[in-house]
Amino acid sequence: MYSYNEFDKDFIQTRVKQFRSQVERRVDGSLTEDEFKPLRLMNGLYLQLHAYMLRVAIPYGTLNSQKMHVLADVADKWDKGYGHFTTRQNIQYNWPKLKDVPDMLQALADVEMHAIQTSGNCIRNVTADHFSGAAKDEIEDPRPTAELLRQWSTDHPEFAFLGRKFKFAVTGSETDRAVIKAHDVGIQVVKNAAGEIGYKVLVGGGLGRTPMIGKVLREFLPREDLLPYSEAIMQVYNALGRRDNKYKARIKITVHENGIEKIQELVEERFIIQREAFAGYDQELFKDIREAFAAPDYLKAPTTAFDEAVNSDPIFRSFADTNLFEHRNPDYAIVSISIKKHGQTPGDATSEQMRVMADLAKEYAHDELRISHEQNVILPHVHKSHIPAIHAKLREHGLATANIGLISDIIACPGMDYCALATARSIPIAQQIATRFDELKLEHEIGELKIKISGCINACGHHHVGHIGILGLDKAGVESYQITLGGDGSENAAIGERAGPGFSYTEIVPAIERLVGAYLEVRTSADETFLETYRRLGSAPFKAALYPETRVAAE
C-alpha cells in the first residue's frame, strides 16, 4: 500500500503541531471562536449537536491492519469506543474533547493518517471503488489515479478557498461502485480504440438540494493530461462558479447555468495553457505511486475447504451468496463485512470489531481493508480456503450478517441523532426497517434493494440514488419522511422520483412495508429486482400501495 514520502510526513506532522498551538490559543482566549472555527474545520473538527466530531480521511477507503488498529485505539482512548464509517469512506468520532484532538491527530499522523480537507470549501477526500485492485471487471486499479489526485489537491494554494466543497471519485470499471455520476468530478478509467488507457471525465454531478447526474466533459483524456485537465476544470469553476449564494455555488449549478458546451470550451482553452506547466514530473511520480499499489503475491492453494463449507453449512452458504464478490483471481474472493447487523447503527463499528477486522486482514487478506461508501468494510483479497475461518471469527463478533445489497444494508447519514444540520433522524428509521424485515424473514426473498436515508436536504445519505430513498424533514416542528422511488447510484445513475406526501416517524416503516409488499406482488419473478420492476411499471403500483386512501378516494 502507498506509504508517505518525507514531504508528506513532514507536512502532516507540522499540521498537528500547528493545530495543537491553535487549540491552546483558543483555550487561553487568544483566539475567538470566529477566528478558530475555520482553523478547526480545516482539520476536520466540527461542533455537532451533543459534542465535537472529528472526521478522519481514509483516502480512497484503503487501510491496512496497523491503521485500523490505531482507529480502534483512538476510539477507546479519546472517544466512546466506537467509530462511524461514512458515505465518503471516512471515519467520524462523535465524542472527542477539544483538548484531546491534537493528541488524536498525533496518533493518527504517526500512522500516516489525518483529518485535513475533510471539511471546508476545498477538494475533499478522493473516493474510489471499494473493490479497486480486486474486481474482475476492472480495467485497472483506480487508486494510483486517486492518490495522484490526492497529492495534487492536498493544500493546493489555488484551490484552498473555492466557492464550495468539491468532490472527486474514481472508478476503474464500467460497473460503477463509486457513484461517480453524483460527484463534482467523476473519473472513469477507460481504454480507447487504440488500446490506450486514459480517462472518461464527468462533471457537474451531485446530490443535495439540487440533485444532478454528471455530464461527460471528455470521452477520452490521455493519462498524462489528468492533472492539467483537472486544474483547468478547477480554474474554470473558481472563476465562473457563483459565490453570491451557497446553494448555487457547486459546480453542478455552474454547469447547469452555463451549459456543458460552454464549460467544455472554457476547460479546453485553459487546459492548453495548463498543459505547458506540466513537464512530466507528475507522470514520474505516478509510476512510483503505481508500484505501491502492486497486486499482492497471490497464494496458490486448493479451495476445497471453501467448497466443502458451502455444501455443508447453510449459514456459511447464505454468507457466501450475499457477501462474496468475484475476484480477478479465480481462487480468491472479495469479502464484504456488513457492519449493519439488524437493528444496529449503519456504519458504526466498535473498537473490538475494528481490531477483529484488522487482525483478519493481517492474517488472511494480504493486510488490506477497504471502507465502502455503502458503510461496510471489505477484505479485498481473500483466498477462498480462508473464508470459512474468517466467517467463523466474524460470527463471534456480530460481523457475519449476510445482508450485503439487501433491504437491511441501508445507507443512513448520522441525522438528528448527531448532526447539527439535520432536520430529522435517519438512523432509527434504518434500524427499524432492518429489524422489521428481519422479523418477517423476507429480505432474501426480496433480493437486491438499496434503501438510502438522509436526515436533511444535503443528502449525505444519498437518498436521491436509493432504489427507495427516504428524506427526513422538519414539517412544522414534527419529523416527516419523504419517499423517492427509482433512484440508482450505478453506471445507470438516476435521481429518484418523489412518491407523494411525507410520512410521520411512526408511519414511515409501515409505508416501506406496503411498498415492498406491492413489489413482491407485481414482480414477474424473483429474478426481477425492485428497480427493474419500477422501471417496467413506473410508480403507479407503488404509489397505490403507499397511499391506499387516495386510491379509495379516486375510485
Binding site: 471562536e33 465535537y52 433522524r425 419529523e479
Partner: protein, 99 residues
C-alpha cells in the same frame, strides 16, 4: 402589532467538552434542561444572549431555544431541542447514559 414573545431558554455548547449546556436560574451553566432559566421577557433574553459574547473562553454557539413550562419546569417545544437534552436515540449512550 409586534409578535408575542415565545418563552425561551438560553443554551450553548461547552468549549472544552462540547457538552450541551443551559443558563440556569442561579446564573451558572448546567447540563440539565430542568434547571434552565425560563425566560419570558424578550429584553432579558436578548441581553443574556448578548452577554455570551464575553464568555467565549467557556462556551460556543449560544442561542435562545423555544421552551414551555410543564409541572413548573421548562421543557423543549421542538424535537431537536428535546434530543439535545438527552443525546442520540439510536442507542443508549452520551448524555443520557452519564446522568
Amino acid at each position: 402589532m409586534a409578535r408575542a414573545f415565545t418563552p425561551k431558554v438560553l443554551t450553548a455548547n461547552r468549549l472544552l467538552e462540547g457538552d450541551v449546556i443551559y443558563y440556569s436560574a442561579n446564573g451558572d451553566w448546567v447540563t440539565s434542561h430542568d434547571d434552565a432559566l425560563y425566560l419570558t421577557d424578550e429584553v432579558q433574553a436578548n441581553e443574556l444572549l448578548a452577554a455570551c459574547s464575553k464568555l467565549s473562553e467557556y462556551l460556543v454557539g449560544a442561542y435562545l431555544a423555544n421552551a414551555a413550562l410543564e409541572d413548573g419546569k421548562p421543557v423543549p417545544t421542538h424535537f431537536r431541542e428535546e434530543f439535545r437534552t438527552r443525546g442520540p436515540s439510536n442507542y443508549h449512550h452520551g448524555k443520557q447514559a452519564e446522568v
